[in-house]
Amino acid sequence: MSVASEPLTSPSDLVHWREESEQQAETAATTVAVCMGTGCVAKGAEAVFSALESALERLGPDAARIRLKRTGCHGFCERGPIVAIQPGDVFYQGVGEADVAEIVSETLQEGRVVERLLYEDPASGDRLSRVRDIPFYGKQMRVVLQLNGVIDPTSIEDYIKAGGYESLAKVLTGMTPDQVIEQVDIAGLRGRGGGGFPTARKWRSCREAHGDVRYVICNGDEGDPGAFMDRSIMEGNPHGIIEGMIIGAYAIGAGQGFIYVRNEYPLAVQRLQQALSDARRCGLLGDNILGSGFSFDVRIHRGGGAFVCGESTALMASLEGRPGEPRAKYVHTVEVGFHSAPTVLNNVETWANVPLIIARGGEWFASIGTPRSKGTKVFSLVGKVRNTGLVEVPMGMTLREIVYDIGGGLSDGKALKAVQTGGPSGGCIPASLLDTPVDFDALQDLGSIMGSGGLIVMDEDTCMVNVARYFLEFLQHESCGKCTACREGTAQMLHILTRICAGEGREGDVELLLDLCDVLDDAALCALGSTASSPVRSTITYFREEYDEHIQLRHCPAHQCPGLFRYEIVAQNCKGCGLCAKECPAGAIAGERKKPHVIDQAKCAGCGACFEVCPASAVTKV
């Protein structure tokens, strides 16, 4: 049965429909969920899906009890493509087209597990069959991501069967707007986009602001490099966001909403578009939602590709069809926002939390986390970590637990140097402070921010001066140019950092950088500029010796800045094969066959060709 036949006209319709479909669900006893997150798709998940599809077709009537579905991101991107089978909680990873026949004949027909497709625990070497046994998942607390990887994001029926839209029904049948805001207040929900502003306070201000028309906006312009939490939620559970927005709109009295999606996320746009039209068809969006008299609709806006549009006033300018330049916020957007009307703008993850808070109550939400940071936070755990992926943890978990217990430690057995949080607006937290709990305030105290949730692990081979330079290059490029502090400040900081990385740093450069940081903090118009100091200030605070070594000794301790370290051949490791001499474009390597070779430092151009080709790893950086 499908909800499509007729729009649902009352909250009880919704409940009836769910109960009926639960009874019918018995027939499809087995579900095979193929992860269609970007990581898995890039690793060939589509081919795996098609192979499963045709294998099930060949199975004939036996296949009736098996439901094959595409789901959103399971989070374990490192191990994709992922195929999860229920019941039995079987979790196959690294699945290829060639494995499909065996999955069908062994698992689906015989109920046996295919050992070699299970996750192998690196510590014990055991094959782990169940999701909850895998350390990557074991320590996580998946609340916002609970349905990601379980439901088919293109099916509103799947979402409703999982209890979806019941929070909306609850709100429309028995809660006043004030009671909704009250629950969000009790929950202590703070904005997941980076700022951590209390959501209930924002909603209340908007509700009380003067005006006839009000708007809600979902900020899906996820621009931080190394962050893909919002994308995974938009792609994996679009109805969760939409339900949150409808509830928010009801609470503040808005009739129109917008989802602003980053240009680089075409699949998210597609999923959201379908979800919106399905919700309209079912009477969950549009005029007279569930017969309650409350009307609200949502429109999608594709971004044009500008990082600054993640800033609320710039985003609203963009929605109005103008260049995305921010304005000063003496007057808040909750009072004067989109088209000068009171507007609430929240991040994707913030909206996705709303139905959960309504369903289980604000107190439940407030029981998770730390005194001032409640609930969970989704992070994209990336960089030089073994288990790259999307993780959700309760606020207050330490960075060490996230990186080592969930992330499995560093890849290639290197030592951890820093964890970067908060994207270009955030900072680098050194290994010595790894026991810091992840919490809005604790991270801010260390000179970084929670940000939207990028967690980038950096190892000993990462030059922290170059990291600061990288972020400034990014920010300088993305600065809209409206205010002088940001336009000139980021350009000057980039200029100085580039000089230092090229071995042309001068005494006083670090002090000058800190001065520029102060100017940006005080004078920039929007958060892009005022937080541009964080990557510089945090690396100077925790890695000052790296700056000094670049400036005073013209040496890059991480051996990353070209020209600030030397290549040498370790004589005892060199087998004298001559490959390096052949590859060297500068003709700087000499030596007899089968005898250790030597690099003539005067001729060496520092290209690293020898380092790349040496089969004996005899070339080292010093």
Partner: protein, 168 residues
């Protein structure tokens, strides 16, 4: 995807797009996105027609079209190379890949090859960090790319094109 052949063809397409959004100025960005999808870029005649159709100064359309990186005023290549330069890809060597693409194709970031086979566009992040460094050509992802693989990857696209031309 081609430049408008005639002035009237341009006007008709622009009018259709403007009507799709009720000629409402709020929708300038989606209109430009649709027009770029139609023509491959935003040539002057298209911007002028749109300005006339929705009643805004053409300078405002240029302001929008030059502010956002997804718009291009000049024709694009037949294949789009997107290189992720996000933090993780950067740490894992995206810069070396960028250098390889630029020297191999003789293009600058954002530029198009002389024969218009490729447009090369570095982007902030593709959100596929587990695959880094990641390179995308049209809709295809290439994971954990090494600079030396770049010529081979790109030659596939140049080659399919050559084969397509021959069969025509």
């Amino acid at each position: 995807m081609a430049a408008p052949a005639t002035v009237s063809e341009c006007r008709t397409s622009v009018a259709a797009v403007a009507d799709r959004y009720g000629r409402d100025r709020d929708f300038v960005i989606p209109m430009l996105q649709d027009l770029q999808a139609r023509f491959g870029c935003l040539p002057p005649e298209v911007l002028h027609s749109l300005a006339e159709a929705i009643g805004v100064p053409v300078s405002q359309l240029y302001a929008v079209a030059t502010f956002y990186t997804s718009f291009s005023l000049v024709p694009q290549g037949r294949h789009l190379i997107t290189l992720c330069t996000g933090t993780v890809c950067y740490l894992k060597g995206a810069k070396q890949i960028a250098e390889m693409i630029q020297s191999h194709l003789n293009v600058a970031p954002g530029g198009t090859t002389e024969d218009r086979t490729f447009t090369y566009r570095p982007v902030n992040c593709l959100g596929a960090c587990a695959l880094g460094p990641v390179l995308m050509v049209d809709g295809d992802y290439y994971a954990k790319v090494k600079p030396a693989q770049v010529p081979d990857i790109l030659s596939q696209y140049a080659a399919t094109e050559a084969a397509g031309e021959r069969s025509e």
